[in-house]
């Protein structure tokens, strides 16, 4: 089990033109900035190569590419190097924008594309599950966010209200 092999094969898939761009999100993405937290899968957000005349996003070329290289399918996951990996199109304009601002991090010689801390935090706020709020709180407590940049992102995606509510719930000491 070696998660770096996931990055290697996804990088190669990008070089071979099966996907245009990618960024690691959710728990694994957050690990680039925070303490590692147990997770069962790797979520990779991607932009597909647009095929002429194609209206619907088709993940089949990705599955074909990976299975041809020995990866196995398990349900909706592709298992790469022992890790279930899910490839996802951006579910919102925020995630689409985050993909455009993803950064490349060197992992002992292997490049990995990952969302910035501010976008991971904004996506967590937008997604809003309990575990997302916990992750957002970690980002705040660890001081890993640029407040001005975060505010700009939140403002652009109408998340100011959600942020104020989050602050009241988790950051304000007043009852």
């Amino acid at each position: 089990m070696d998660i770096r092999q996931v990055f290697t094969i996804v990088n190669q898939m990008q070089l071979d033109g099966t996907i245009s761009d990618y960024a690691i999100g959710e728990a694994v993405g957050a690990t680039f900035y925070l303490e590692p937290v147990a997770t069962l899968d790797v979520d990779i957000f991607i932009t597909f190569r647009a095929e002429p005349g194609q209206l619907l996003l088709n993940p089949q070329p990705i599955f074909d590419y990976l299975t041809a290289r020995g990866c196995t399918m398990q349900g909706e996951y592709v298992v790469i190097a022992g890790w279930p990996v899910q490839f996802l199109p951006p579910p919102s304009p925020l995630v689409e924008e985050a993909l455009g601002h993803a950064v490349t991090v060197d992992v002992e010689g292997t490049p990995a594309r990952v969302f910035t801390a501010e976008y991971l935090a904004a996506i967590a706020l937008q997604t809003g599950r309990a575990k997302d709020k916990a992750r957002l709180l970690q980002f705040v407590e660890e001081g890993r966010l640029d407040p001005a940049l975060l505010q700009k992102i939140l403002g652009s995606h109408q998340l100011d209200g959600a942020w104020q509510k989050f602050q009241r719930q988790f950051l304000d000491n007043a009852p």
Binding site: L34, V37, T39, P59, Q74, G75, G82, P84, V107, E108
Partner: protein, 62 residues
């Protein structure tokens, strides 16, 4: 060792910060280890979790 809750909380936070500041390759190795442990634990459960797979719906539409 102390039973002072304030000191315990501070100690936990300091430990988390130390983990967060590890080199990324080291953190990813920890992640590999955490997943290996989770897979082992989930094997004790019936259902698809036995394969170490999370239970969630496919989000990609074809």
């Amino acid at each position: 060792m102390t039973f002072d809750l304030t000191a315990i909380i501070k100690s936990k936070r300091d430990h988390r910060t130390r983990l967060a500041m590890l080199p990324i390759a080291e953190k990813l190795r920890l992640l590999d280890g955490l997943r290996a442990r989770d897979v082992l634990l989930h094997k004790a459960l019936p259902s698809r979790r036995a394969a170490g797979l999370p239970v969630k719906k496919l989000k990609v539409e074809s």
